[in-house]
Symmetry: none
Subunit: 230 residues, 2 copies
DNA sequence: AAAAAATTTAAGGTTAAATTAAGGATCTTT
DNA sequence: AAAGATCCTTAATTTAACCTTAAATTTTTT
């Protein structure tokens, strides 16, 4: 799972309920907001994968909020609405929203719709192919790092290594394990090669490649990818 | 447009109505079937981009049909249902269906839902059969590039390849994926052929074909279409 | 302070991709 | 059915990106 979901609704009980439902389904990163203002703050600072927006909000409406969000995010949006009239539905969908759910709804319906949308949008509900490392964003699917707004391509070996590190983030990965991932089980070349590749990765990802904050060395043990977030 | 849609419903008037709605929206390839048997025949012989399935059919039900379809197609499915009970909706969505529409529905709602799903699934709907790449404009529908006011025709293979790249713009497309798109799953010709075709495309699209700004190479990974806009 | 481990840089080798041109297909026209 | 044009594929060569190696340097550990 591991996809951040932002829920905006002014009913605290409903908010809590949705949070519980999603948590029990493995969506551990659920953010909630009671109004547009709070929602925008969160949306701008967090990489949200999906939005659940109530249409009636104390300081505006979901449609307005939707248009604000679209200015910086392409993530799918589901509207929550107490009204069930076709006109409303279309108004939401016409804007480009991806779905809507009429209150009251069944827990299962909510979960299934969210999963369906995440699957459609990101190809999968689980495996995360993007992460941020401080200022940089790493896109494993597209073999690219975005740093200072610039897109720097990753090369084949670099991609294999950073993938391995990401899969084992916050854990030590031995030099052997990294070499095996990149060069196969029967690699006995100079281990120094690995260090050169690590250097290249650091140059692309780290602020200061010589003082790495993400790909850290554990002398005699291996490397570890830290301070990274989905 | 150019996306084939298969509609399965046993009410001939509804079938006709949907066909008309979609045709007027530019979906020129709409197939209709009154029952499961006919639907399967069509589904197996035609490359369908989206399915609209009624739940009640004379020789079975939409859910059954859905499971049959899923055996060979990943295209999105929208259920049409006269019943509005949550259980039914979930049953449909639980299977993996992407949406459902409760009859009676508004023409506009149908169209918007179809477009939303096509956009999600294929990254693009109809209108995006044209795009610009710097100075050049590529018209996929008419298989032509407009460069310096001149219209340069695209050839068959070139068209397939640029389409594939456009559908996956800003993403890596492996050489394998490109070869498969152009020459089928069982192509064992010289892979160099692909590069020749890429060269031709670059000559037609790029300012300086030897320093491509749009069709870029990711050595060992594939090609990527970048800096393009609808 | 010496030894060990990791870093760093740049040059050389390797391999994937680019390039060019010619020979086959295929489609059109007569 | 033959000629001509267009398009596609193959092949041989060149280019350039990438990977590896090595040697000098720095950092960490003993």
């Amino acid at each position: 799972m591991n996809k951040k979901i932002l829920v905006v609704d002014d009913e605290p009980e409903l908010l809590k309920m949705i949070e519980d439902i999603l948590f029990s389904e493995g969506f551990f990163q659920v953010y909630t907001a009671p109004d547009c203002k709070k929602a925008m703050e969160l949306a701008k600072t967090q990489p949200v994968a999906l939005f659940l927006l109530d249409i009636n909000l104390p300081d505006g409406n979901g449609f307005m909020l939707y248009q604000e969000i679209r200015k910086f995010s392409q993530a799918p949006v589901i509207f929550l609405t107490a009204r069930g009239e076709p006109e409303d539905k279309i108004r939401g969908l016409g804007l480009g929203a991806d779905d809507y759910i009429v209150k009251p709804f069944l827990a299962k319906e909510l979960v299934l719709r969210i999963k369906a949308l995440l699957r459609r949008t990101y190809g999968t509900v689980s495996a995360e192919m993007c992460f941020s490392a401080g200022e940089s964003k790493v896109d494993l699917e597209n073999a690219a790092v975005i740093k200072d707004g610039r897109e720097i391509p990753l090369r084949a070996k670099e991609l294999i290594l950073i993938k391995k590190l990401w899969e084992n983030r916050n854990k030590i990965v031995t030099n052997d394990a990294l070499c095996m991932a990149a060069w196969g089980d029967d690699y006995y070349g100079h281990e120094n090669n690995l260090m050169v590749q690590i250097r290249h990765l650091r140059e692309k990802i780290e602020e200061d490649p010589s003082r790495p904050a993400h790909i850290i060395t554990l002398k005699g043990l291996g490397y570890k990818l830290v301070n990274v977030n989905e």
